[in-house]
C-alpha cells in the first residue's frame, strides 16, 4: 500500500537528499524520495475543454482569435502557415557550424532509427493456415514544438526523424510565435528533418486544430511533442480521436558511479539535467562516501557559473539526491525502483552492471558517455519515459509511427479443421452468431 507523506523523512531543506542504504531508516527515506511528486499539475482541464470545443466548432476563426489573445499575434488563414521562403531564410541565416551540428545529429538519428523499422511477417503454420503481421506508417502526424525557452531544435529532430523513417507522409508542425517571433533554429531543424508544413500557432488551440482540422489545417491521425500544462491537457482530451505520444514529465538522470571518477565530471552530468527545470531530478548512487562528498562539493562550485544557475540550484536542492551503498551491486534494485529516464553507468565494467539492470529509458555506458551525447548526436532518441514510467514504457521510436494489421487466411479444409473448436468456445460464451458464422460455412 502506498502511504504518501507519512512518517518522518531525513530531509534538510535546500540541500539535496542524502541517503545511506545501510541506515535503519533508509527504506523509509528512499520510498519518500520515489513518492515525491515533482510536478504540480495545474488544473486547466475546464479551460482546455472550452478551447478544444471552440476550435472544433469554429475552425480557423477560433484559432485566430485565441492566438491573438494568448500569443499577441494577429493571423489570417493565409498567414497561419509559415512560408517556404521564411523557412529557407531561417536556414540560410543559421551559422554554418550550427547547421553542420544539426545535420550530423540528423544523419546519426536517422541511421539509428532506420534499424528500428519492424519487419512484416507472413507465414504458413503446420496446418497451412496463413498468418501474419503487416506494418504500415500512420498517414499524418502533428508535431507540437513549444515556444520560448523550451523551443529546442534538437527536439524537432528527435520527434520528426522517427516519423519520416517510418514513412509518415505528412508531418504538420505547430509552434507558437509570441508577438510573431519564431526561433529560426527550430525552422532550420524542421527543414532538415523533412517536416512538410509549419503553422505559427500553439497551446491547446493548436492541438485541437491538429486533431479536428480547420479550413486551413487538415486533421492528423496522431500528435506528438512536448508542451506546457495546456498542451498536455489538450493532448489527453483529444486522445482517442487521434493518437498521442507519452505525456513527458520533468527530466531525470541517475548516475551510478564508483570512486574512480572525476567528481567534476559527474557533477556536470547531474547539473545537465538540473538546469532543465526546477522540477528536474538528478540522483547519484555511489559505493564511495568520500566521492559522494566530493561530487556534492563540485555541484555547489559549478552551480555558480551556469546561466541557468537558479533553476539548477532549485532542482538540485529540492529533488537532487546522493545515495551511498556498500557495493555497486546494491545499486541495482534501487536503480530499478527509480526506473530512471537517463542512466549513466560511470563504472569500470558498465556492461556487466547493465546486464543486471532492468528499468531505464536510456543507458550511457562508461566514463566517456555523458548523457548529453544522447540529447544531441548519439543517434538514439532523447524523448524518453519519465517519472518511473520506464518500468512499463519506452522512448520514442519508429514503432510510435507505424501500426500493425494482423492477418489470417484459411482454406475450406483448414476451416473444417479449426472450426469445431471455435464453435465450441462460442457456444460456452453464449455467442450464437459467432458459432453460426463458422458452422454455416461447414454445413454444420
Amino acid at each position: 500500500m502506498d502511504q504518501p507523506g507519512c512518517g518522518p523523512v531525513k530531509r534538510i531543506s535546500r540541500l539535496p537528499w542524502r541517503l545511506d542504504s545501510t541506515d535503519a531508516e533508509f527504506e523509509q527515506g528512499f520510498a519518500s524520495l520515489l513518492a515525491t511528486k515533482r510536478e504540480q499539475a495545474a488544473d486547466v482541464d475546464a479551460a482546455v475543454r472550452a478551447i478544444v470545443a471552440r476550435v472544433r466548432a469554429e475552425g480557423d476563426a477560433a484559432v485566430i482569435a485565441l492566438t491573438s489573445q494568448f500569443d499577441a499575434l494577429d493571423l489570417t488563414p493565409a498567414t497561419m502557415r509559415v512560408t517556404a521562403e521564411e523557412i529557407d531564410a531561417a536556414f540560410e541565416a543559421t551559422h554554418p557550424e550550427t547547421l553542420e551540428a544539426l545535420e550530423l545529429a540528423h544523419a546519426r538519428i536517422s541511421a539509428h532509427h532506420r534499424r528500428q523499422m519492424p519487419k512484416d511477417d507472413r507465414y504458413q503454420d503446420a496446418l497451412g493456415v496463413e498468418l501474419g503481421s503487416r506494418w504500415t506508417a500512420i498517414e499524418s502526424v502533428g508535431l507540437y514544438v513549444p515556444g520560448g525557452m523550451a523551443s529546442y531544435p534538437s527536439s524537432v529532430l528527435m520527434n520528426a526523424v522517427p516519423a519520416t523513417v517510418a514513412g509518415v507522409e505528412r508531418i504538420a508542425m505547430v509552434v507558437p510565435a509570441m508577438r510573431g517571433a519564431l526561433n529560426p533554429l527550430v525552422l532550420a531543424a524542421a527543414k532538415i528533418a523533412g517536416v512538410t508544413e509549419i503553422y505559427r500557432i500553439g497551446g491547446a488551440q493548436a492541438v485541437a486544430a491538429l486533431a479536428y482540422g480547420t479550413e486551413t489545417i487538415a486533421p492528423v491521425a496522431k500528435i506528438v511533442g512536448p508542451g506546457n500544462a495546456f498542451v498536455a491537457a489538450a493532448k489527453r482530451q483529444v486522445f482517442g480521436h487521434v493518437g498521442i505520444d507519452m505525456i513527458a514529465g520533468p527530466s531525470e538522470i541517475l548516475v551510478i558511479a564508483d570512486g574512480d571518477n572525476d567528481p567534476d565530471w559527474i557533477a556536470a552530468d547531474l547539473l545537465s539535467q538540473a538546469e532543465h527545470d526546477t522540477a528536474a531530478q538528478s540522483i547519484l548512487i555511489t559505493d564511495d562516501a568520500a566521492f559522494a562528498d566530493a561530487v556534492a562539493d563540485a555541484v555547489e562550485r559549478q552551480l555558480g557559473s551556469l546561466s541557468r544557475s537558479q533553476t539548477a540550484a532549485a532542482s538540485w536542492a529540492d529533488h537532487g539526491a546522493i545515495v551511498t551503498v556498500p557495493t555497486l551491486a546494491d545499486a541495482v534494485p534501487l536503480s530499478d525502483r527509480i526506473a530512471p529516464e537517463h542512466l549513466e553507468l560511470a563504472v569500470a565494467d558498465p556492461d556487466a552492471l547493465f546486464a543486471r539492470l532492468r528499468n531505464a529509458g536510456a543507458v550511457f555506458l562508461g566514463r566517456y558517455t555523458p548523457e548529453v551525447i544522447g540529447d544531441y548526436v548519439g543517434g538514439s532518441n532523447h524523448v524518453l519515459p519519465t517519472a518511473r514510467s520506464a518500468r512499463f514504457s519506452s522512448g520514442l521510436s519508429v514503432l510510435d509511427f507505424v501500426k500493425r494489421t494482423s492477418i489470417l487466411k484459411l482454406s475450406a479444409d483448414q476451416l473444417r479443421t479449426l472450426g469445431p473448436a471455435a464453435i465450441e468456445l462460442a457456444r460456452v460464451e453464449g455467442l450464437d452468431a459467432h458459432s453460426r458464422s463458422v458452422a454455416i460455412r461447414l454445413n454444420l
Copy 2:
C-alpha cells in the same frame, strides 16, 4: 473542420444505414456514419476518483468494503485470493471438449505471439560508437476480467498469452464475483494461460488495488483488459503511475464482399459483431446492389433465431450499414476512413485488395476466414483497436508487455569526434551544463 450533427442525413429509423457512393449526398451521409458516437460515456470520473483515493489510503479494508457494497460479497484479506484448489476444481469441472478447444486456442495464440518478440540490437557504427536497443519484459502485469455476460475465457487467453510470451513474471488477474459466483471457464483459461494469481474483486477498486497495491495485493507496473465505464475511468486515472492498454470501445466489423458470396454467410458475419453489444457496428461494402439486398434480407431472417437477438437487432438497426460502390476499388478509401477493428475481404482476390488497404486492426482474407476464427483459434489477438483508432494504433501484442532501453557507449576518442557538435547544439539551446558535461571530459 469537424461539424457533428450538421446537415440532413439519409437515415430511416430502425433500419441500418443504406448508402450508395454514387449518390450526390453520399459524402455527407458517410461522414455522418463515421462521426456517429456509438458509446455513451457515463460520467463516473468523480465516483471513481473517490474509490481510487480510498483504496490508496485504506488498502484491503477499502477493497473489502467496496466489494461488499458493489458485488454483495463479503471478503477477508485471506479469502480475497482465489485458491489453487478452486482453480484446479474449475479446471477439472470443465468439459473435456471445452478444455481441448481452450488448449488448442492457447497453443495457436502462443505460437503466433512468439513470432512478435522483438530482437535486441547492439552494433557499432562507422566511428566505432556502440549503440543499441535492449528489450526487457515488464516485471508485473494486472489483468482485468469482467464479470457476468462479458466474462469470456477467450479474452483471458488473448490478454495473458502475450504477457507470458514476453516473459512477464507475475500476472495478477482480478475478476468480480457477484454474490461469490465466478465463471469456472475463466479460471480454467487462467490456469491454461499461466496467470500467477487471481483475486475475486472487480470495478474501480480492483484497478486501484492493482495500481497502488494493498496489504494483500502487490502493485503491478501495467494493467490490461476490458471493463465497464468504471473500470475504464479507473484505468485512465491510474495511467502514468502504471501503464495501461488501450481503452477498448464497442466491437466493429467491416465486410468487403463481391456478389459471389452466399448472402447468409456474410449476414452471419455481420451479426457476429452485432450480438456483442447494442453499440457494436457491422458494415458491408459491396459492388453488387442485388447482393446487398440479399444480405439485408438474410440478416433480418437470421436475427430471429439468436439468443441475443434483441442486442443484435438494436446494433444492426442503429449502427449497421450497407454501402454500395461501383467497383471494389472504390471500397478502398472508404475502408481506410472507417479504419475497422475487423476487416473481412470476401472477394476473389483478397490479397490484391489487402495490398491497397492501409488502416485495419486485423484482416481476414477470403471466403473461408470468418472473423470469428480470429476471436478464438486463429492465433492472432482479438484485442484490437476500435472507433477508427486503427489509423494510429495496433492490436494487443508482445510489444505491449516489453519495454526498450536505448544504449550508447563512447570511447574518449569517439567523444572527441562527436563532442564538438553536441557542445555547439547545447550552446545555441542555452544549456551551459550540457556543454560543460562534454567539454570537461575533453579539457575544452
